[in-house]
């Protein structure tokens, strides 16, 4: 469902003496349906960079990144947008929303964009927010003023609203209390059970051990200094 072949990436900082920062070379990995794979490696090893490339948020310089049959390295923006709508979900570390939009709408939006009936979309959003113990009085408010943990739960609810066949999770349990952490892990288990292919970054080793089937150390793809 998610496959990387010989992926490389460098950053060129044009306004800083055109400094070239090679961050990845020859990256290979596969995530099959029903599997959760963890990306590991030291800070700066390139975990987030790899995940962002899989989402099409960073460009890869070389290789192939195939998700649900679409090669993100070659695809037109339009194909990537459609892939993101239907097949590829991403729970980023931080929530980014349009001001003034109520939490319920934020969570239901991925479904509404897929033209799911409004009632069904809102019902699913309510179900997830309930599960993640977000107080009901917050549902009609914009999440912009929420605490870090509350925003993170909104972000997770939004990421799990639609049953994406491929899902990317960047630190989904960070800044959560034990109770909600357990809820998130059970959501991940449920997504695996329905056949989702999941790629995750977890600094929380216990969480990783609980939901991930294997780990890939990203530092093996770090280019050696010339």
């Amino acid at each position: 469902m998610i496959e990387l072949r010989n992926v490389s990436k460098e950053f060129v900082l044009h306004n800083q003496d055109s400094a070239v920062i090679p961050v990845m070379q020859g990256a290979e990995l596969q995530v099959h349906p029903g599997e959760c794979v963890a990306l590991t490696g030291n800070s700066g090893a390139g975990k987030s960079t790899l995940m962002r490339m899989v989402y099409g948020n960073y460009l890869a310089d070389d290789g192939a990144i195939v998700v649900d049959g679409v090669d993100l390295v070659q695809a037109e923006p339009r194909a990537i947008l459609s892939l993101r709508r239907q097949s590829l979900g991403y729970v980023s570390q931080f929530l980014r929303v349009v001001p003034r939009v109520p939490t319920l709408e934020v969570v239901a939006e991925p479904l509404l964009r897929l033209r799911v009936e409004r009632d069904a979309a809102i019902a699913r959003a309510e179900e997830l927010l309930m599960l993640l113990n977000l107080p009901q009085r917050l549902w009609s408010l914009s999440p912009i003023t929420f605490s870090g943990g509350e925003q993170q739960r909104v972000n997770i609810a939004r990421g799990f609203a639609h049953s994406y066949p491929a899902l990317l999770l960047d630190e989904p349990t960070a800044s959560l209390d034990p109770l909600n952490r357990a809820v998130v892990l059970s959501l991940i288990e449920a997504a695996k059970a329905r056949g989702a292919a999941i790629l995750g970054i977890f600094h929380d080793a216990e969480a990783r051990a609980q939901v991930c089937d294997r780990s890939i150390d990203v530092s093996q793809f770090t280019p050696r200094a010339a």
Binding site: F11, V12, L13, H14, N15, R52, G56, N57, Y58, L59, P77, R78, I80, L81, S82, R85, Q86, R96, V98, P99, R100, V101, L112, R113, L114, R115, V116, H162, S163
Partner: protein, 263 residues
């Protein structure tokens, strides 16, 4: 689950569009495709040619080179630059809409709010007074203008209200493509947020396509699927909005992105 968006052919296809002001470049060799339901943002510093490009696309400025192909309701692509003036004007009232930066450029300031939106409907053939007024009230409601303001003139409205009225006037006829030049420029941040929320909702509900010019990267981050970066009349970079903002490839885009605090 299937994506139900009517994802057919291209809606707008721009090929090698150039515009010169005498020896000076307005915009040069611009090409892109826009599909139904897509929102494209155009960013760049002041004087980079954003408004020039938008006005050429909309047929408000004569173009020196290139084609602006638009897919009509019959499905065929036609070069709008070759259309007769009446044909293009009709397009501007039906399938196209243009939201100006300054609401007063897009409104009739001496006509009531209801008249401003009703006039548009009559221009496309609506005749029944009651129906026109009902739909005017409906649209004023959608842009959050209270029904009891329907007989007020735009001069009595705040800047944000004028902008919302302009949007209602433009969208009431159900266009398929909207051009916007700095639609949130000059408004307070809180008013901007409201307008953004409104625009996003309308784009989604109506399946609109839009080309939005702005210098505000936060605005395009929230509204645009795709981004085009202009400098000195040239397009220097294009791509998915979040990709261009988070992993800019061109030195100028890197400068643009790193000059703002956080987007």
């Amino acid at each position: 689950m299937k994506d139900m968006a009517p994802d057919t052919g291209v809606l707008l296809s721009v090929r090698g569009l150039s515009k010169f002001y005498g020896p000076r470049i307005g915009c040069k060799d611009v090409s892109f495709d826009l599909y139904p339901g897509e929102v494209m943002g155009i960013v760049g510093e002041s004087g980079s040619g954003k408004s020039t490009l938008l006005n050429c696309l909309a047929g408000h400025l004569p173009t020196d080179h290139g084609e602006v192909l638009f897919s009509g309701r019959d499905g065929g692509l036609r070069d709008t630059l070759q259309m007769s003036e009446p044909e293009r004007r009709m397009l501007g009232r039906t399938d196209w809409a243009f939201v100006h930066q300054h609401a007063r450029d897009g409104l009739r300031m001496n006509v009531s709010a209801g008249g401003n939106v009703g006039e548009r409907q009559m221009a496309v053939g609506a005749r029944h007074y009651g129906a026109i007024r009902d739909s005017a009230i409906d649209w004023l409601g959608r842009v959050e203008i209270a029904e009891d303001r329907i007989d007020d003139r735009p001069t009595a409205f705040s800047g944000g209200m004028q902008q919302r009225l302009q949007i209602a006037r433009n969208l009431i006829t159900g266009p398929r493509l909207v051009f916007m030049d700095e639609p949130t420029g000059g408004l307070d941040v809180s008013v901007q947020a409201r307008l953004l929320d409104l625009l996003r909702g309308l784009v989604r509900e109506m399946g609109l396509s839009a080309v939005i010019v702005t210098h505000d990267l936060a605005v395009v981050r929230l509204l645009a699927d795709r981004l085009m970066v202009m400098k000195d009349g040239h397009v220097v970079e294009t791509g998915l909005t979040d990709q261009v903002l988070d992993d800019p490839q061109h030195g100028y885009t890197q400068l643009l992105v790193s000059s703002v605090l956080q987007v």
